[in-house]
């Protein structure tokens, strides 16, 4: 163990920044920060202190080293470093619980530092409901905690002269079992020094039965500061000398820059610079309102756009484009089975491009200097953003530091990365720190939308109404994506002259080598047999799942339950149609075709909790005018097994005006051990309501040149005034299972559950999302009498 070694320069830098408690450690790239990092001044000080120690500002912590994850200060404060960030879902709190639990310290003594490329281990993107998996199983932060506890027990054993087996770790100290007077605190053992050891993959985790902090409905540590506006968002970052930038995006998709008349804003107060690069234009000014006004007045000439495919006929258009094909599974006998089937049922489902639509437009601050760059961003992946920002600026990645700073809820790749590129380019050009917050229109017209889908389904039924073959063929549209190393995967970088990831058609699809449950391309009811392994959640052995990816006209990227939601809408609506065709109860019919025990459990649990009325749909006796009510069901093994959910929805359909109101949702969810019941409930509730908004209201629209949904009038969402359903949530308790995702489970089932309930209420099947009043009315009008 190395003693605390802080150079006089570093001490001075820290004093200058006004830190009250601090311990910086040299060696293994680790440092201890015994204070809560909440201010920008603190971060600048940190970097100054690092530089003063001779450590490179952009040192990358080695995730194999315990010191990269945890440090114990001389005051007993435990500082944890995580590569998974707070996106509004309570991850800060539950990660603090995890550290407190594994190290046996009170939560009050835990500090958490998240996603700073210089000081936290690279854990990739915080997305895809992967954080619970990544940090709460035998890896990541959990295993670091377990390793540290074992190390402390060993050190305590040496200090106390008692075998480790007779020691217990409790309340930040090691003591002799049965003799609490013989104890030594963690601070006395390692305080202010590094562990200097590797993560021990065999260090035992605490079993959920031993938990005292984990598993509890611990209140979120950040809500008091959020609700009193003390919390710092990236939108509040203020750096000395900072200027404000406002991009001028093209008026049409594909429009190219013809010229900028800078004289049009000559003399406007505060204007510093007009920045142009390729098809990119931005204005930098001293104050935000000055930049906004100048950008609005700046005369910019553009070419016409390249034209967009017809919005109303887009789903047909998708089928005719060159595609990159993927065969998830093919038993080879589907055509023959369909031919011999007693009946074949077919349907087509359509799901639109949708937005992340963050309530705060995206914001970032960049400070590009000659030899180093610092970026404050609410990106889901600061580590990749470091690389793409370096590419954008033409500098080495190790000169770039990206500091995650919380933003508006993103639900996937919103404009956080795009705004970073805006700020970085403008800062580079003016040589000063620049803050950019996008306009509402630039956020919504140019973000990376969730993918549009059109899915053809057909099944063959035997004479008893059992499914004997399932055939899925889907088309989805995408372009760009998470930046990774490519700034051109988002609009700002593209306009600056960087290319998105190339679209590479591939036909025919190569034969699958293993069953991939990702994206729920395959329905839960197929066996998923590839080679001699069966990876599906169901029983249907004759199966073919073929997907075609085409190039979209807009930028796209993961949006909460990406592709899973679109596919599950198609699968679970279709399953309901089949059940109705054979006059079976939709829950019983599902159970008949499922094999995954965890999916079966949530289905049974949701049905029981909702007091599901067992009968075929539609509901008998409903009138054809006025308000009709009905129930619908859906379930999914999300991503083939990263979270399980089943849902029943009770809806009212106003048959006169087409309005759908969801009255009640019952949700049964399984995400492995319940790390924080308050947190998972908040996520299941929020995601379910998000799903209602996406099912009933949300859709990107465009004309022949540009996106026409660019604010909250043209892109509708449910408001705080909307009637929300009563929600019952059942959490499956799986203490012996691995932790899986939770934040994307409930939303995946919503569209189908609602659509099925509309059918139950009215006998009308809606196969296109969103179920707007106009679509519902049109479908009702076409209803056979």
């Amino acid at each position: 163990m190395n003693p605390l070694n802080l150079t006089p320069d570093a001490s001075e830098a820290l004093d200058r920044e006004g830190f009250s408690r601090r311990h910086f450690l040299k060696g293994s790239g680790a440092l201890i920060v015994g204070f809560s990092i909440t201010s920008v001044a603190g971060r600048i000080g940190l970097e100054t202190a690092l530089a003063a120690q001779g450590a490179p500002a952009a040192a990358q912590p080695n995730p194999g080293q315990l010191d990269s994850w945890l440090a114990i200060g001389a005051d007993g404060i435990v500082t944890a470093y995580t590569g998974k960030c707070e996106l509004g879902q309570g991850l800060t709190t539950v990660q603090m619980q995890l550290v407190a639990e594994e190290l046996s310290v009170p939560m009050q003594r835990v500090r958490l530092i998240q996603c700073d490329t210089s000081i936290t281990p690279n854990q990739g993107t915080t997305s895809g409901a992967q954080s619970h998996q990544a940090n709460f199983n035998k890896a990541g932060l959990a295993q670091a905690g377990a390793t540290a506890r074992q190390a402390l027990l060993r050190l305590g054993s040496e200090r106390l002269g008692v075998p480790a087996a007779q020691l217990i770790a409790r309340d930040g100290a090691i003591s002799v079992s049965g003799d609490a007077s013989r104890r030594v605190t963690y601070a006395e053992l390692v305080g202010g020094r590094t562990f200097q050891m590797l993560i021990d993959a065999s260090a035992p985790r605490k079993h959920p039965k031993e938990w005292t902090v984990m598993g509890q409905p611990v209140a979120r540590v950040d809500i008091p500061s959020l609700v009193t506006a003390q919390a710092e968002f990236v939108h509040n970052v203020r750096v000395p000398g900072m200027l404000h930038g406002r991009p001028v995006r093209p008026p049409a998709v594909g429009a190219t820059l013809q010229g900028v008349d800078e004289s049009s804003i000559a003399g406007m107060p505060g204007v510093v610079k007009v920045v142009t690069q390729k098809n990119y234009v931005g204005v930098v000014a001293e104050k935000p309102w000055q930049a906004i006004q100048a950008a609005a007045r700046l005369k910019v000439s553009w070419s016409a756009g390249t034209g967009l495919p017809n919005n109303a006929q887009y789903y047909d258009y998708m089928r005719k484009q060159p595609s990159r094909d993927t065969l998830v599974v093919d038993s080879g006998d589907v055509d023959a089975k369909l031919k011999s089937a007693a009946e074949v049922v077919r349907a087509t489902y359509m799901y639109p491009f949708q937005m992340h639509g963050s309530i705060g437009s995206s914001c970032a601050v960049a400070d590009v200097q000659n030899d180093k760059t610092t970026v404050w961003a609410a990106s889901q992946n600061v580590y990749a953003l470091r690389g793409s920002t370096a590419t954008l600026l033409g500098v080495a990645p190790d000169t770039v530091r990206v500091v995650f700073t919380r933003g508006s809820g993103c639900y996937g790749i919103n404009g956080a990365d795009a705004a970073t590129f805006d700020a970085a380019l403008m800062s580079k050009v003016v040589g000063k720190p620049v803050r950019v917050q996008l306009s509402r229109k630039d956020e919504m017209a140019w973000e990376n939308y969730g993918l549009a889908f059109v899915v053809d389904q057909q099944v063959g039924l035997d004479a008893q109404g059992n499914i004997i073959a399932w055939d899925y063929e889907g088309w989805s549209a995408s372009r760009g994506g998470r930046p990774g190393a490519r700034p051109g995967n988002v609009a700002s970088g593209f306009h600056m002259g960087f290319e998105p990831a190339p679209f590479q058609p591939l036909r025919p699809a190569p034969a699958p080598t293993e069953f991939v449950g990702d994206n729920n391309t395959a329905p839960s009811y197929v066996a998923g047999r590839v080679g001699d392994k069966q990876g599906g959640a169901g029983t249907v052995a004759s199966e073919r799942v073929l997907s075609h990816r085409i190039e979209a006209p807009f930028f796209n990227g993961p949006l909460r339950a990406p592709e899973q939601l679109q596919n599950t809408f198609a699968h679970e609506s279709f399953m309901d149609e089949i059940a109705a065709r054979v006059k079976a109860d939709p829950v019983a019919y599902r159970l008949k075709h499922l094999s995954d025990p965890r999916l079966i459990d949530v289905v049974r649990s949701a049905a029981k909790t909702s007091a599901w009325e067992t009968r075929p749909s539609p509901k008998p006796g409903n009138r054809r005018t006025g308000v009709a009510s009905g129930h619908g069901f859906a379930c999914v093994a999300r991503d083939g097994g990263n979270g399980w959910v089943a849902m029943s929805a009770d809806v009212d359909v106003n048959q006169d005006n087409g309005q759908v109101v969801v009255r009640r949702l019952t949700i049964a969810a399984d995400a492995g051990p319940i790390s924080n019941p308050n947190g998972i409930r908040n996520q299941l509730e929020g995601a379910a309501l998000h799903g209602i908004s996406r099912s009933l209201a949300e859709e990107v629209t465009w004309d022949d040149q540009k996106v026409t949904s660019f604010d909250w009038q043209t892109y509708r969402t449910l408001t705080l005034g909307s009637v929300m359903p009563a929600m019952q949530i059942v959490l499956m308790d799986r203490p012996d299972a691995a932790a899986t995702g939770a934040g994307e489970t409930s939303i995946t089932a919503v569209a189908a559950a609602i659509g099925n309930a509309i059918f139950d209420a009215t006998g009308v099947r809606l196969r296109q999302v969103p179920f707007t009043p106009e679509r519902v009315k049109a479908a009702l009008a076409a209803r056979r009498t």
């Binding site: 879902q89 509730e685 005034g721 929300m724």
Partner: protein
């Protein structure tokens, strides 16, 4: 430019400003307040809400010159983490936040409405909240927190 005097959270500020500047930029940039936030700039979402002379207003579309004599309260002006206002306390108790970006709109719109309509029922409160957005969809908990505050202030 004229000098404008603003009363914000009980403090008086005198600033040299274009009176057409939207109040939001003055609060968030000149005064560096964190409560009011830019969400849309068109009074469509509520994130920039402040209370001016008892009424919830959208600071993104309110020229600063029009509120020069008003008493303005922002979210941080209501209470602190140590001593939250009862409506903030209700949000803490109900754990009614996810990302928290929208809270100025949610909390201040509800507070201003209930101050003027203390006997409002849930339907009326929902009506009053119909121009406020939360994209994390914390709706159920937020309405529960607002109802809790409404009932508490009438108790």
């Amino acid at each position: 430019m004229p000098m404008i005097s603003l009363n914000v959270n009980g403090r008086r500020h005198t600033l040299d400003l274009d009176p057409q500047t939207p109040l939001l930029y003055v609060l968030s940039d000149d005064l560096e307040l964190k409560g009011p936030k830019f969400g849309c700039g068109m009074a469509q979402c509520g994130s920039c809400t402040v209370i001016a002379d008892g009424k919830a207003i959208r600071s993104c579309s309110t020229p600063v010159g029009t509120v020069a004599n008003a008493q303005i309260t922002t979210l941080e002006g209501l209470g602190t983490p140590e001593k939250p206002h009862p409506i903030q306390q209700a949000f803490i108790e109900e754990q009614a936040a996810q990302c928290g970006f929208c809270l100025s709109g949610v909390v201040l719109t509800a507070k201003a409405y209930l101050d003027q309509n203390p006997k409002a029922n849930e339907t009326q409160i929902r009506q009053a909240m119909s121009g406020v957005l939360c994209r994390c969809f914390t709706h159920t908990r937020m309405v529960r927190a607002i109802m809790k505050y409404a009932q508490g202030r009438n108790a």
